[in-house]
Symmetry: C2
């Protein structure tokens, strides 16, 4: 008793600005290229896909971007999220290390994804858009965008990777509850989907395929845009609300993290967690950033650093990133999200510049950790988030061995209540 | 912004004592009777079912019962739970009323049930018990007891009402995740189950039948006891942690509730919510206690106030309560918990003495409210809890009509993430 710390912020303490790391990073990102011409993409070319305010956020180097009042009001429904000290896990590991986690599972759809779905829906709405089309893997993003669409009066259409659609019926219910329409991908509703199914009608789908289907639909409609749940600069920008809150919470308890950990799929919760600590890292403080990914989709640990498409059909701009190739499909046994073939350009460059380390874990290993964590900490983690816990445990044990009194923080990006069948 | 209030308590502020209303109530409960002899049950007769410390808590009239350190340590994993002002709901209703809810869905299994499963497991453990057998309806109690069993090293066996077992596969996963064994009831594992299935092999089960099966198993085993998730005095005692926290939270914001609302199944979350306010009510303050139940299981609103068995086979003591009859089975369409034929004797007596009002709602009505609440407040309520929300909305609209500036509080006893299929 008494040792268990939960660090809360009041609603008034929700950060009023997102932090844009592009203002401070000691390198420039390689620009996105037009997939046909291979020329540098002009911002206006991105406008076919995204509304102007988001295109602007994609390229700006302004350090702080004001969060609109309308977005803050929606954030206030679930933010600030708690920072929790994992005292039971610490005791279990018998480590001198302090382990904290930022718990994003308190959001309406149970993951960090609402941090960006809400501003994305808002900026599309004020740009006159009526329909947002998107892809989703495990369903976290699809449900988050549906929730946000409901808030701002947009139609939401979701192409969901077919394996996940079949494994996770509850996420479909959640998308529907918030008024979204969901279609398993590959589908017969697009030419690209039909082409894929012609070749292999058992194709389990991939994020790359689902993105291609969503984009095809967007290009065929009026007042429709695309929304992406990860990877892009503006998505990571919105997610910095996580790390900015973590900073405030650590200030409250007069503590500073030595190791900052996130799971890595497309890079948004990881980016949101670590980017606000870029200034400290650049000022010479010894902070370790660690990305944790699945061995079955080892983008940062085994991918190549090169230009590649964000989707399978080759409709998106070419981006410089670590990639497993746009045709990559994770093995069918792979249960969670974290199934994207590429990575956020910012994250990829951080890795390439040795400012970020990456490690991969097997599914068995992370499920075992998830079970342990549920029993010790009373929260059932999402399979995705379990990668971050696994990373934190390994770091804690390493510090224990070296007798180092470190402070570790990781983002628990979501709960696993809708993934319980995967646990069985 | 700024208007949304969430009232947090620190871990140090978790109440250190449960409150026993029997010390203050202006009436005595009618004693439980032996089901065979119809004589007043002696405490030692209860010892066949429950360990001595719980039997003692069942009958004591001591006002405050100290919460053991071991239990406080486990409470600290998820308690104190937040008190949240439903500002979006208030805005939607355009009411001058303030509406607060105590959110118990933050517990490891997503409902208030862990408040009593943890102490029950603890007291059984220190009494040398190795196995706890129980029943569960929607699965909230079964998963909560499994979690607690894991914490204190007890085997947990759960007889789950068959309809719910089939409707809610996720709860079974949750029980298994925490190491509990679950059997659909009626089952072939007990003589009573076999008898029921002989008569009707399609029998959908009921809590009364499941309790009978669990008790039969307990009587046939060594070092095994029974655990009940509601109804009994000691269960309501443990649940007073809810109302005690609510009181502290209202003190923090210098506010006092005029209407206190809970959903009613067996009476434990309702009792836990309202009983700590008994002293204020007795001192003459005008506080309304309101029980909200389903029309398909209208115990308090349509049941008879008389002695009845707690289970279908007639193995439990006879208790004086509102009852629909021990053979009552809710219609198969009934989706949630709140399916018990009886009610907690304390709650029943409060109703009988006109200290508590009760109201019943249809399933359609409460699901509509649940949808509305999810959209406005960003939390998907359990179907059970939706009855309390429905009650709160009706009270708020009544106050609006009468231009009264009331303060309403209800307990949101759990989240509905594992009930999403029922929403579709």
């Amino acid at each position: 008793m008494g040792r268990r710390e939960r660090v809360y912020l009041s609603v008034e303490e929700i950060p009023k600005y997102w932090y844009n790391a592009l203002a401070d990073l000691p390198f420039q990102l390689d620009p996105p290229l037009n997939p046909q011409t291979k020329e540098i993409m002009k911002p206006e070319e991105l406008s076919a896909i995204f509304p102007d305010p988001l295109v602007e956020q994609e390229v700006t180097t302004e350090r702080f971007i004001k969060i609109p009042e309308e977005v803050l009001k929606e954030y206030a429904i679930f933010r600030p999220s708690p920072l929790i000290r994992a005292t039971n896990l610490e005791e279990y590991l018998e480590t001198p290390v302090k382990i904290y986690y930022k718990y994003e599972g308190v959001s309406p759809t149970g993951s960090h994804k609402t941090n960006t779905s809400i501003p994305q829906a808002y900026y599309n709405k004020i740009s006159g858009i009526e329909t947002l089309v998107t892809e989703t893997g495990a369903g976290q993003w699809g449900s988050a965008l549906s929730y946000a669409g409901l808030k701002f009066g947009l139609n939401i259409e979701v192409y969901m990777v077919k394996t996940s659609f079949e494994q996770k019926p509850m996420r479909k219910c959640l998308i529907n509850l918030f008024g979204g329409k969901v279609t398993p991908s590959p589908s017969l509703e697009t030419n690209f989907g039909k082409k894929i199914l012609d070749i292999d009608k058992e194709n389990p789908g991939s994020l790359g395929i689902a993105i291609s289907e969503a984009l095809e639909v967007v290009f065929s409609r009026n007042k429709a845009k695309y929304a992406l749940g990860s990877v892009l600069n503006h998505v990571l920008l919105h997610q910095t609300i996580i790390g900015l809150e973590i900073k405030k919470q650590f200030e409250k308890i007069n503590e500073k993290p030595d190791v900052i950990i996130g799971c890595h799929g497309g890079g948004s919760n990881l980016g949101g967690t670590i980017l606000p600590f870029i200034p400290e890292k650049l000022s010479g403080k010894n902070i370790k950033f660690l990305a944790c990914e699945p061995k079955s989709c080892p983008t940062l640990t085994e991918g190549e650093y090169r230009y590649d498409n964000g989707d399978t059909a080759g409709l998106t701009p070419l981006m410089k990133m670590y990639t497993l190739g746009k045709d990559f499909i994770p093995p069918k046994i792979h249960a969670g999200g974290l199934r994207y073939h590429g990575s956020a350009p910012i994250i990829a460059k951080l890795k390439h510049e040795n400012m970020l380390e990456a490690v991969a874990f097997t599914q068995d290993e992370t499920f075992e950790v998830a079970n342990l964590f549920a029993k010790l900490e009373g929260i059932i983690p999402a399979p995705e988030s379990s990668h971050a816990i696994t990373g934190a445990i390994k770091e804690a044990l390493k510090a224990k061995k070296n007798k180092e009194e470190k402070v570790i923080v990781f983002t628990l990006s979501g709960h696993g209540l809708l993934d319980l069948t995967a646990y069985s």
